[in-house]
């Protein structure tokens, strides 16, 4: 049986294999993804982002437990991204440590990914991996980014609902949220609410939110949760469902899907054009242009101009 067919009929080993092929940009992975494309678009994609140490993995663990304990529970997939070492190309992917409660449930599928040098908080192939999980029938897909600072906002283009996490005792982290990832949040979560300072962190975030542009249709809520003892998790799950409904009612879901496709197409187009352009250069022209820029003979812009003239 073909790989696409096996994935479609719930073969978990085939799914795992497909995810590897996608991560490795292999032609077989691309072919299979193309065959499965018509089946995508059914899952709700939820991004979970925030500074390192705010409890993203632990929250994903609790939230998934809660979802799976409901009547008629959804199938849940988790994609957890961790950084690749820029020096060795290796990575330690440790998000599963906090997700041990989820093992043994066939309605859950967890995949760890290294970002392989991508800078926006996800890997270049995360969107393909999520598409494959969507086609395989997972209804909620939680995408956990690498620990983020201010600028890693790729998740906004990859998810329908974005959770941004903060934690008490991280005054500076709350400050940085103001400038960057705050703008992409659909729901703000102050995790570790069992620790002192959670209320004041929530107030600081509220004040920061009020400085920004106001979306009249969706007021970003701020929720307190404790992934440790489970406080606030049912409320968080309910709020995500409310946001899902809101997107459906307002057409926001189609809008976000459209923006996601635009981003993905442009990324692929750039890659393809770059590869094609380099392949069309006569031997060594491109490398020689680089050397001339390194030797201060040319500016990078002039070097590109020259390459285009030939």
């Amino acid at each position: 049986m073909k790989l696409a067919e096996r994935v479609r009929t719930g073969d978990r080993l085939a799914l795992a294999r497909l995810l590897t092929l996608i991560e490795n940009n292999s032609p077989e992975g691309q072919d299979t993804l193309s065959e499965l494309h018509a089946l995508t678009g059914r899952a709700h994609r939820i991004g979970v982002t925030g500074a390192p140490g705010t409890g993203k993995s632990a929250l994903v663990n609790r939230l998934t437990q809660h979802l799976r304990a409901q009547d008629d529970p959804p199938f849940v997939a988790i994609v957890a991204v961790d950084p690749t070492s820029p020096f060795t190309g290796g990575a330690i992917l440790g998000d599963r440590i906090r997700m041990r409660d989820l093992s043994g449930d066939p309605g859950i599928f967890i995949r760890s990914m290294a970002n392989r040098g991508a800078l926006g908080g996800l890997a270049g192939t995360t969107s393909g991996v999520v598409d494959a999980l969507d086609a395989a029938g997972f209804q909620w897909i939680l995408i956990e980014t690498v620990g983020t600072g201010q600028a890693e906002v790729d998740i906004a283009g990859a998810a329908h609902t974005v959770l941004v996490l903060g934690a008490p005792g991280m005054g500076d982290a709350v400050q940085t949220l103001k400038a960057g990832v705050l703008e992409i949040s659909d729901i703000l979560v102050v995790n570790k609410s069992d620790l002192p300072g959670a209320e004041s962190a929530a107030r600081a975030l509220r004040a920061a939110l009020e400085l920004g542009p106001v979306d009249s249709e969706w007021m970003t809520p701020i929720l307190l949760t404790s992934a440790d003892n489970g406080d606030g998790i049912p409320e968080l799950a309910a709020k995500i469902s409310t946001h899902m409904e809101h997107l459906k009612k307002t057409g926001g879901r189609e809008e976000r899907d459209h923006a996601r496709v635009v981003g993905e197409m442009e990324r692929l187009l750039q890659q393809r054009l770059t590869d094609r352009f380099k392949a069309a250069q006569s031997d060594g022209d491109y490398e020689r242009a680089i050397e001339r820029v390194v030797d201060r003979e040319l500016s990078p812009m002039r070097a590109i101009d020259e390459l285009f003239q030939d």
Partner: protein, 137 residues
């Protein structure tokens, strides 16, 4: 451009709580360019097999110091085989008495590393286990 990485699961089955060895190996493998999925302490054979499947790893590295290897390791091998992952290489590090080695190797364990093994030796063995031998001629 296709880009492949060797994916390894590093896990500690059983109940002993000493994970320093596992962490040293995980770090050394990362520094050698591997993608290491680290699952932490007290993993059951079922948890390890499930993680190996979802993560589609080529190697499972187990750290066992408790003496329970003759129960845990065969069970993990059996589960991997049952789920169609007989090609996954299973390596063990820790305290494994000499008399148990032949039995484990016969069951299909691809490498056994005792105390004092250098990380370089472990890395070379891991790389060799998943790299196809060059075709002759």
């Amino acid at each position: 451009m296709p880009e492949t990485k060797i994916r390894v699961l590093v896990a500690k089955p059983g109940l002993d709580g000493h994970d320093r060895g596992a962490k040293v190996i995980a770090r050394a493998l990362r520094d050698a360019g591997f993608e290491v999925i680290y699952t932490g302490l007290r993993q059951t054979p079922e948890m390890i097999a499930e993680a190996a499947l979802q993560e589609d790893v080529q190697i499972v590295g187990l750290s066992v110091l408790s003496g329970a290897h003759m129960t845990l390791v065969p069970r993990i091998l059996e589960l991997l085989k049952k789920q169609g992952q007989e090609s996954v290489k299973v390596m063990i590090g820790g305290i494994i008495p000499d008399e148990d080695r032949p039995k484990l190797e016969e069951l299909g364990v691809a490498g056994i590393f005792g105390p004092g093994t250098s990380t370089t030796e472990v890395i070379e063995h891991f790389e060799g286990a998943v790299t196809p031998a060059p075709a002759e001629g």
